[in-house]
Each structure stands twice: as C-alpha cells, then as structure tokens.
C-alpha cells in the first residue's frame, strides 16, 4: 500500500510525519535540529529518501542538512552562499539603496531530472544551484543581474526568493517568485530571466502596474499544464494561461483575497486551494474561522471547506510554504499553521483533521507520496 511522508519545518526544528495511504494513523518523529528555524525541508522527486533541509538561527546563521535515508539521519552540507561578483544594491524600506546581503535559505527545490542538482532561493533574493548534492553552491547571477534589482524591495518577511517552480516538460524553463519584486521566468536553465508581472495590480507601490516591485506570495502549477500558473499575491489571487506573459485576477467570491498559500489538486488541474487571511495588517483568518477555499473551475468560483477546521476563536496564520498536496488516488491536502497544527484532508479538502496540534509555529509543509 502507498504511504505518505510529510516534512514539516517549524520555528524550532523539523518533524517528519508518516502514515499509510488511509492517512488516519500518524507516526511523528522529531524534532530534528531542535531550537533552529527550519525554513524548508524537501525531498528529491528522483530519490525520495534524499531530503534537504534549510536550518538557520540568529546565533549561527545558515546551515544546510541532507539525509539519504528519508530523514532518519542527517549530514551537514555546505552552507557557504556567496553572491557572484559585486552584489549591487536593492531598494530598502525607506527608499534608499542597500547592498545585497545573504541572510538565509527560504526554499529548496531538488531537480526533477538530476539527482545531485538542487536549487535554493535565498534572502536577499537570489537563486543558487548545487550540482553535487549540496556539497557546494554557486549563484545563478542572471536573475539578480536582470537589471531591475535596484527596484526590488523587501516585503515584511524580508527580500526573499521563496518559490521555485520547474517545468516538468522542459528542464530549461523555471519560474521563481520574490517578495517584493514579482515573478520571473527563465527558458535557459537560469542564465537569463524575464519579469512576468503583466496584469498584476499592486495599489501599495508607486506604480501599481510596474514591471517589478509586486509582492508575490506563492505560485503553483499542475504538472500536466506547465503554461498555467496560479498565484497568491499579497492581495489578489491570479492565474496565467500563457506561462506568465499575462495574468488575470480570479479572486471571484473569496471573502478576502489576501493570503499566502496556493496549491493545485494532484489530478484535477483546474482545482485550486487557498487559505484566505483577513488582511495584510491582520495575519489571521477572517472572523476567527479557519477556512480553506477550493475552486474547481480554475478560479473565480470558490467554495469554503470547513469540516474539521476550527470555526471560532482561531487566529493563526498559514505561511507561504505551508501547504502541500499528495498524489494518492484520493488526493490529500495538507497545511500547517503558526499555532503549530498540521491539518490533513485525505479527501481533497472535503474534511480535515489535525495530524499534530502543538508543534512550534509551522514554516513549511511538504509531502512525499511513497510506494
């Protein structure tokens, strides 16, 4: 029988949650790297026992870890992230220019095609690549050197490259998202990049339709349709059908279209999930009700999913890395909260139950579907 392994990064360590295909009885292991912030833990799609973790703290900075046995044991890997050439400057909160300075790794994206290749999205925003399984890292400087860098600025969480999406049909094409610069696309394996933000409208920046400067929170894609992307922006839920050349707003009947996570059903490319959050000044659910919204029409028409979720006095947040989808026949949906809960829906969102309730604040959730 198939099983699932959920990889959870929290403010105080990593946890591995495992269950069989029913997803009812869970085994919890961890904390791994207790006391450290685990921004992201992710497995290789080629060898699911190959896991990578981004571990950091204010005391000791960035650490990188790798497991080759599904998370039972871990080995420290290279943690040296040095920008290529002269780092240049970006815009600071007060409008002045400030030099690029490495702070942490937000996102890890193991290659779909090469076991030892992995991409890392970092703060201050840049993309790094390792081709030796994490033993060394090199920047892909074409992104930061695109020319618009001086107009990029940090969002509230920092100026981070938090999303990397690979085209499963074309290894040279990838998408990234940066807060607050926007979305970018490469078609030459990361050598050069194009901003893809046409159609985004951000009232909180001087030019609401600027080429860059948008606070994109997350991008998701279904494997079968690499030209179709869904985006949770700071405000607004968006989609593109032409690989980012233009975007349209699909917020429709959502009660609020601020939020962080967005993901796509494993088997239904037009079924999309978001967790609306009240506002950018109030990072908790509207009316104290934790609700996932699902669209089966690729956006605009959304239904609220509440069965098993707290519907009163709930004031947690769901951060951008904290939703994942498994690929079992009955698609499982997972998300973690800043209150330390990780919820699972084994029936595509119809009903939910907590796997764990009392972890540290959850930063990231990934799931692996295992044979």
């Amino acid at each position: 029988m198939s099983k699932v392994r959920v990889l959870v990064g929290t403010r105080k360590g990593a946890f591995v949650l495992t269950a069989d295909g029913k997803r009812q009885k869970w085994e919890v292991s961890g904390p791994f790297f207790g006391g450290f912030e685990l921004y992201h833990v992710k497995g290789s799609p080629i060898d699911p026992d190959r896991l990578y973790a981004s571990q950091c703290s204010g005391w000791h900075g960035q650490l990188m870890q790798r497991s080759d046995d599904g998370g039972k044991t871990w080995t420290p890997m290279d943690n040296k992230f040095v920008y290529d050439g002269v780092p240049g400057t970006h815009q600071w909160y007060d409008g002045t220019q400030r030099p690029w300075e490495f702070k942490r790794v937000w996102h890890l994206e193991p290659s779909l095609t090469e076991l030892d290749t992995i991409y890392a999205g970092v703060e201050d925003a840049a993309m790094f690549r390792s081709t030796d399984g994490g033993a060394s890292w090199q920047e892909l400087p074409g992104l930061r050197g695109h020319g618009s860098g001086p107009k990029w600025q940090p969002g509230a969480g920092g100026m981070c490259l938090h999303t990397i999406v690979q085209d499963p049909e074309n290894a040279s094409r990838m998408y990234v998202a940066i807060s607050a610069a926007g979305a970018f696309r490469t078609t030459d394996a990361g050598q050069t990049w194009t901003p893809i933000n046409k159609g985004l409208m951000s009232k909180y920046i001087p030019d609401p339709t600027a080429e860059v400067g948008h606070c994109v929170h997350r991008i998701a894609m279904h494997r079968s349709r690499p030209n179709v992307l869904f985006m949770q922006k700071h405000w607004d839920v968006m989609r593109t059908d032409n690989a980012g050349d233009s975007w349209e707003r699909i917020s429709g009947n959502l009660p609020t279209d601020f939020g962080f996570v967005i993901d796509v059903h494993a088997h239904e490319p037009e079924t999309v999930y978001v967790v609306p959050i009240k506002s950018d000044g109030e990072h908790y659910p509207l009316d104290g009700k934790l609700r996932v919204y699902r669209s089966r029409t690729g956006g605009n028409e959304w239904e609220e999913l509440t069965k098993g979720l707290p519907q009163s006095d709930c004031y947690v947040n769901v951060l951008r890395e904290a939703m994942a989808i498994d690929s079992l026949d009955s698609c499982g949906v997972y998300f973690g909260t800043t209150g330390g809960q990780v919820y699972c829906s084994p029936d595509a969102g119809d009903s939910w139950s907590p796997i764990v309730r009392d972890l540290p604040a959850v930063l990231s959730v990934e799931v692996q579907t295992l044979p």
Partner: protein, 100 residues
C-alpha cells in the same frame, strides 16, 4: 593543547562533547584557534564567523580567563593560561532573542 568550550548547538552539529582539544602550530591567537577548529570540524565553518569577512557572528562572544575578548584583535596572543590548557577558551551564544 588548547581547550575550547562550544555552545550546545555547535556541539550537536560537530558531534563533540562539551569540550574539544586542539593542537596549534605557531602563535596561539584567536584566529589560529578558529582556523584549526574549523579545519578539524568543517561543519562549523560559517557558524562562528562569517565565511568571507571572517568577522565574529554578532550573537556569539569569546571569553578567556573570565574576560570578554570578543573585541580584541583576532591576532592578539591568547592568555598563557589558555595556551597551556589550564583555562578553556569559551565560545558563548548570547542570551538574546526570544521574539519567536
């Protein structure tokens, strides 16, 4: 032989006990100790001082013989009691943070 006491997280990372013992060749300075420490335990690179600038990470301090030597030159001689192994060199994590 120089004795170095590491903070708990770094002991876990390096897989050591409370104390590591290092043998130096040449003048016993803070820089020399950290060079040997990082050479012996490569996983500690970047966790005590910056990879590139070699500056001390802000939330760490160095103590020798009950004195804070964090702001001394990294090339200054260490106290004789540390060089002889009578006293350890302490690497201490600041009692700071707690906002998360």
């Amino acid at each position: 032989m120089i004795r170095v006491l590491l903070p708990a997280h770094l002991r876990n990372l390096a897989g050591t006990g409370n104390e590591v013992q290092l043998t130096l060749e040449g003048p016993a300075t803070l820089r020399a100790v950290l060079d040997v420490l990082e050479s012996t335990y490569p996983m500690l690179r970047g966790t005590i001082r910056d990879h590139v600038t070699q500056e001390r990470r802000p939330f760490l301090r160095f103590f020798a013989c009950s004195e804070d030597i964090s702001h001394d030159s990294a090339d200054a001689p260490l106290p004789e009691a540390v060089v002889s192994g009578k006293e350890p060199l302490l690497i201490i994590g600041a009692i700071a943070g707690g906002c998360r």
